[in-house]
Symmetry: C2
Subunit: 227 residues, 2 copies
């Protein structure tokens, strides 16, 4: 029974890594589509999100089956419940990538990236891709040092998020309402993407360290949404 | 054992209803604070969100304890897993109310509601409160007809959400960037609040009807975030 459970967990882990890899492809394409107004690439992201949703759903069903058949307790139970939560976060990360792609598509053939914010959004995109890659690596290796790197990158993203609002609300901002809306939404999606990654990383860490009190404290890392 | 499980489920249900009631208070106060620029009321919402987070965390711990001690299977297992997911959605609804309150606070003593959108946001706020009240009622009574009313209200909110962007991106919009940012974020928070409620309502319905394939299909009810 123990052996069966161990194999089931390996299956769960492999599926989580697979979804995280798909999310990395999605955010990489979405931020490139957003940066270069590549509507075909944006379409790819939007279409591929259904695959992420489907895989997350299948993983949830597998986790519930494991709970029913193998009735894990203690730490084993925590691992399976955590898998359900990680799956939900990955699914939302895919949604954020999709939303960024939708922004790119909706402005086509205009540029989606507001003038004066190209460097900022390029950097936010790169950081989101980095966060996503590291998250897949964390899920693959369980190397807890990666969690710290994810948190550091999230801090950088939060700073960029704040800087977008400073720019948009500053005296020198000459953007049209469209540019203001796009900057607001795109920044929010980029920031939420990384928040979810931090939330997953925390759960992986707490699984390893056993202190559960902070593992659900997602809100603590979400910066105030407004300046 | 069956009797113990039944009592545990009643405890879970009572706690979900309690959290949904707290969320209703939060969204009611948040939308009033936003509409009237009442910074004291906004502060109350922001402070009270920690209570919602704490209660959601306690409920999750209870659900995990039930899984460990009573090892439910089949529909019983689905109920407990669903409780975990409902708790996560309620917690996010509380966060959305908090974000609306933060918007109200951040603009004080200026008005948070952008000019020309007062009626729209008043209506969105009323609908969010209605959705939240109905959700608590659905969790309390398991009367599935309420789920339909929640979905209808969500459709109305989605329409208002679209109308906010039409207004902001229209030729007649004279708002400053601040007003544009506020309208964008506030509309998004109102819309997400109701989305989470629809997601919970679906889960309650699917628990009753047994068809799980659609219960996680949250994305399907999220309108395109941009016009």
């Amino acid at each position: 029974m123990r052996e069966v459970f161990h194999q089931s967990l390996e299956d769960v882990q492999a599926r989580l890594v697979e979804i995280a890899d798909l999310v990395t492809v999605a955010i990489d394409r979405a931020t490139r589509a957003f940066g270069t107004s590549d509507v075909a690439l944006a379409e790819e992201v939007i279409e591929a999100d259904a695959i992420i949703d489907e895989k997350a759903f299948e993983l949830d069903e597998l986790a519930i089956e494991i709970l029913a058949r193998q009735q894990p307790v203690a730490r084993d139970l925590r691992i399976v419940v955590t898998a359900l939560r990680v799956s939900a976060s990955l699914e939302r990360m895919g949604d954020m990538a999709e939303h960024i792609a939708q922004l790119a598509r909706s402005r086509f053939p205009e540029r989606a990236v507001p003038k004066g914010l190209k460097t900022t959004f390029t950097r936010m995109g790169e950081l989101d891709v980095e966060v996503s890659r590291k998250l897949a690596e964390l899920l693959r290796t369980q190397d807890l040092r990666i969690a710290e790197a994810i948190r550091d990158a999230d801090d950088d993203i939060d700073e960029l998020h704040v800087s977008v609002f400073e720019k948009v609300l500053g005296d020198s901002w000459k953007g049209e309402a469209t540019a203001t809306v796009d900057a607001t939404l795109a920044s929010r999606y980029h920031e939420r993407f990384a928040d979810h990654a931090v939330s997953v990383a925390k759960k992986v860490v707490y699984l390893a360290t056993g202190d559960w009190a902070g593992a659900d404290d997602e809100a603590a890392h979400e910066p105030s949404p407004v300046i």
